[in-house]
Amino acid sequence: MKVKTMQSEEISIPREALSVLEQIESRKTRYNRNLIIAFAVLAVLMATTLIVLGLDFKFMLKWLPFVLAGSGYTFLVAFLAISLACFLAIIGALGRLSKNPVVNSIATSYVSLIRGTPLLVQVYMWYLALPQIGKALEGYGFTGIQAVFTLPAVPAGILALGVCYGAYMTETVRAGIQSIKIGQTEAAKALGMTSTQTMKRIIFPQALRVIIPPVSNEFIAMIKDSSLVSLMGVWELSYRAIKVGRRHFQSLEMLILVALIYWVMCILLQFVQEKIEKHMARGDRRI
């Protein structure tokens, strides 16, 4: 390795420097090796614990297909709910940033109310309390509205999760939009863009980069919170596992099984998240 100086005479890198570089390199290699060992040890420990506990693996394997059949509902609920949440979050964020007092107050109240109440209460609200509201409305002459307000379990669950996560994500999206420097807006305006064009073409695409990691986080959290729809008797993952476990007095096996299924699902999602982030990072300084 040679470096040219201004006088263009060649000076080789001193030997001490080379040995320092080697040290840094070997430190990295050692760290990577030890990390793999640590993970492996942890995995072995976990497996041993499961064996020591005397788990009935045959039982688990036997009921695996039955429990897995519930993953369809889990994905359906989580996917539709996150779609609804994203939609609400964008509307909510624009509302929170709006200078229109009506729009702003609605968006602010939405976030405050939903974030300030437990999701469990909200789920029951959509499922059990909404029909009652329908009934009250019928009393005021809206005939037939109670039937509309009486939701089946799955739609009620999707609405509850979507509306709830939409409120949290509203704040994520708002923060993402506000994190873009004012100079970007000014440059867009100086070109003659309208506010809508500026938001759509310049601000939002950049904000998306900031938003993706927390939104993926929300999605992963939602996969697990979708188990709340089991409260309404939907045959999704955790509901099936708990049912089987109780009937055969082998709750430990079934709970561990369903926990592992959730874990694998989340690992897969994390993988997807990393892919998306890498794609969004184009335009960043590559080091």
Binding site: G183, E186, A187, A190, L191, G192, P205, R282, R285
Partner: protein, 253 residues
């Protein structure tokens, strides 16, 4: 040299922040077609604010701005006025101290963004012109690079090309070289100089003395929101009338 068609006409512009921060105090400025005007002044004197009032990035508190026969008066929020402001912006290009390129777009995409989104041009057409502009600023080989991979000087040249893609009638430069390393200033000034020679109407806030002295047709000195002196660069730099001008020039020369 330049004809005497007025291109920018600013009348009695005031800018007040809050209730008592009086940044611009009744500024008048007329710039003719093809003229290059440089505004000098100590920091905080209001020169950037004035520039930003021309394309309404800053709302003047009082006064009238006229660009290319489009007249907008301070105050009011009606739709018609909004549209006139958009029209003014379409006809004025602006370059910022911090470049403000769109980081999620390549150099080429930055340049075609205005024509395609604002003017509704066909992409093919816009790309064709963008290539010509990239060549004009000497960055043909950087067309597919993202701003983060360009030096400050290159970024500012792309930013100039981005403004020119809108075929503006006036170019506003807001300290375009202040954020650059000294050895990169030259390449940006060279582009500005060529622009001036090709007959663009230019209003520049800059401390770049070569540009002020050799390229500008007129130099104006601002202090505390008012003009204190104006004239051809030869007179301003060699034989200023006002004591305040002399003091200021002593600082920057």
């Amino acid at each position: 040299m330049e004809d005497l068609t007025p291109m920018v006409k600013i009348t009695n512009i005031h800018k007040v922040y809050g209730k008592n921060l009086h940044v611009l105090r009744g500024i008048d400025l007329n710039v003719n077609k093809g003229e290059t005007v440089v505004i000098l002044g100590a920091s905080g004197s209001g020169k950037s604010t004035l520039l930003r009032c021309i394309n309404f990035l800053e709302e003047p508190t009082a006064g009238t701005v006229e660009v290319d026969n489009i007249v907008v008066t301070a105050g009011g929020t009606d739709k018609l006025r909004e549209n006139r402001i958009l029209d003014i912006r379409k006809r004025t290009g602006m370059c910022f101290q911090a470049f403000n390129l769109f980081p999620h777009m390549t150099a080429l995409e930055n340049i075609i963004e205005g024509p395609t989104t604002v003017l509704g041009q066909e992409k093919k057409h816009a790309v064709q012109y963008a290539k010509e502009l990239l060549e004009w600023v000497g960055l043909t080989e950087k067309r597919d690079e993202y701003p983060s991979c360009l030096s400050g000087g290159q970024q500012q040249r792309v930013a100039i090309a981005r403004s020119l893609a809108m075929k503006p009638t006036v170019m506003l430069f807001d300290e375009p070289t202040s954020a650059l390393d000294p050895e990169l200033v030259g390449e940006v000034v060279e582009v500005m100089e060529r622009l001036a020679k090709e007959g663009m109407t230019i209003i520049a806030v800059t401390h770049e003395l070569h540009f002020a002295r050799d390229v500008a047709d007129r130099v104006l000195i601002m202090d505390q929101g008012n003009w204190i002196e104006e004239g051809p660069p030869g007179k301003i730099f060699n034989n200023p009338e006002k004591e305040r001008t002399r003091q200021f020039l002593a600082h920057i020369l």
